[in-house]
Symmetry: C2
Subunit: 241 residues, 2 copies
């Protein structure tokens, strides 16, 4: 961003990405910590090039932090309160990091750009953590997966964005299940239930869950998984083509 002219981007419009990651029965969120004194965490964000579609911009921002090119990304909400910019936090960042800002070529004009009011389009994705190697960009000190229950305090309204993205993920999970591509090629009903339980943060009664999922008509039942104890072996499933 800093190396380009602000005219190359749409003014006062940004994109913020909530990247959910699933691994070992746990739901996480990918959060970069900014390389500034004062402990600032912010969602992966960026601007929209004048010649770039908003979906393209979102995929570019995500690829920058995850290396993944073909990711299933969806808009979930636009955040546009007049007061969302939270000037105090930005002022604190600037006052604690004058030297670093100069180092990075953030002159007063660039600061004026980032301290203006922004409307932000929220995108969310859900990825298999094992398939992603998080990457810092030039303003990150670190980038980590945080369990959703242990998120740090993020700048501006970014914690609210995560909450809203989670609400949307829960609402749409049945429809988006296949697209997210989170499970191995074949999986057991138990593995699928564990995914739901991680996302909803609550247990599901086994029989109800199985009925609900089978009613979606998206699964194909295969042979039993070989476990050595044939009569207790669970069925394997895969998504219908």
């Amino acid at each position: 961003m800093y190396s380009r002219n602000e005219q190359d981007y749409i003014q006062q419009l940004s994109i913020d990405c909530v990247i959910f990651g699933y691994r070992e029965k746990q739901l996480n969120v990918l959060v970069p910590k900014m390389d500034f004194r004062g402990d600032f965490w912010a969602l992966p964000s960026g601007y929209i090039g004048q010649d770039e579609g908003i979906g393209q911009a979102a995929r570019r921002i995500l690829e920058e932090r995850t290396g993944i090119q073909t990711i299933y990304l969806d808009q979930f909400c636009v955040f546009g309160d007049a007061e969302r910019s939270n000037a105090q936090v930005l002022e604190r960042l600037i006052s604690l990091n004058g030297d670093k800002l100069v180092e990075r070529g953030l002159n007063s004009k660039a600061l004026e750009w980032i301290t203006r009011r922004f409307v932000s389009i929220g995108y969310y994705a859900l990825v298999d953590i094992n398939k992603v190697i998080p990457r810092k960009n030039e303003i990150d000190e670190s980038i980590e997966w945080y369990p959703i229950t242990q998120l740090p305090t993020l700048i501006m309204d970014h914690n609210e964005m995560v909450a809203k993205a989670l609400e949307t993920l829960r609402l749409n999970l049945d429809q988006k299940l296949i697209g997210f591509n989170l499970l191995p090629e074949t999986f057991t009903m138990k593995e699928l239930q564990e995914l739901y339980e991680a996302i909803f943060d609550k247990p599901f009664p086994r029989n109800n869950f199985q009925k609900k999922i089978l009613d979606l008509n998206v699964l194909e039942r295969l042979e039993k998984k070989f476990t050595g104890a044939a009569n207790k072996a669970p069925y394997l499933y895969r998504f219908q083509q």
Copy 2:
């Protein structure tokens, strides 16, 4: 818009509203025809003031065309393809209406503003047509309810916006039923079914529909409606408080 400075608004960001109206078993959309030669229809639209939240702006735009202040409005999608502006249509409008543009004080600077690329936030609402008196604003020749199956060709991607808004309305109808405030205080199951059938444009089998709706747990059953033929009188319902 024309009377204010463009600096009072966020640049390149607009709001478009799909206002669905229900009356007599039919779903309609409120569409203004622009007061320009060449037959241009466009969804009710506007910009976002620098001190205005996006929700506030959407309600202002809607109130302008409907007079309704407390309306249940929801974002449904952001339209942000790089090429959505459809320069040909705008050029045709300008070439056919040079005199009218001058009359309205649309100088070349104002035209430059409206012909730039815009990202647009789509909002949708569903209202009772009997409670709305559509109002022209200064750029409308007329404003009418059109049955959703007989919409004119709208400018830019506005027809696509209507299709996407309808998809969202169908997906969320169960959850939003109460908020839309479309039915009288008390109503019969048949009246509710007719509303669903208008929105989904298909018949629902009566027993299935009744079971599905009662399973939502949002209705309270009252006494039977008095029709003279007591044994065939339908129950009345209302939404739970």
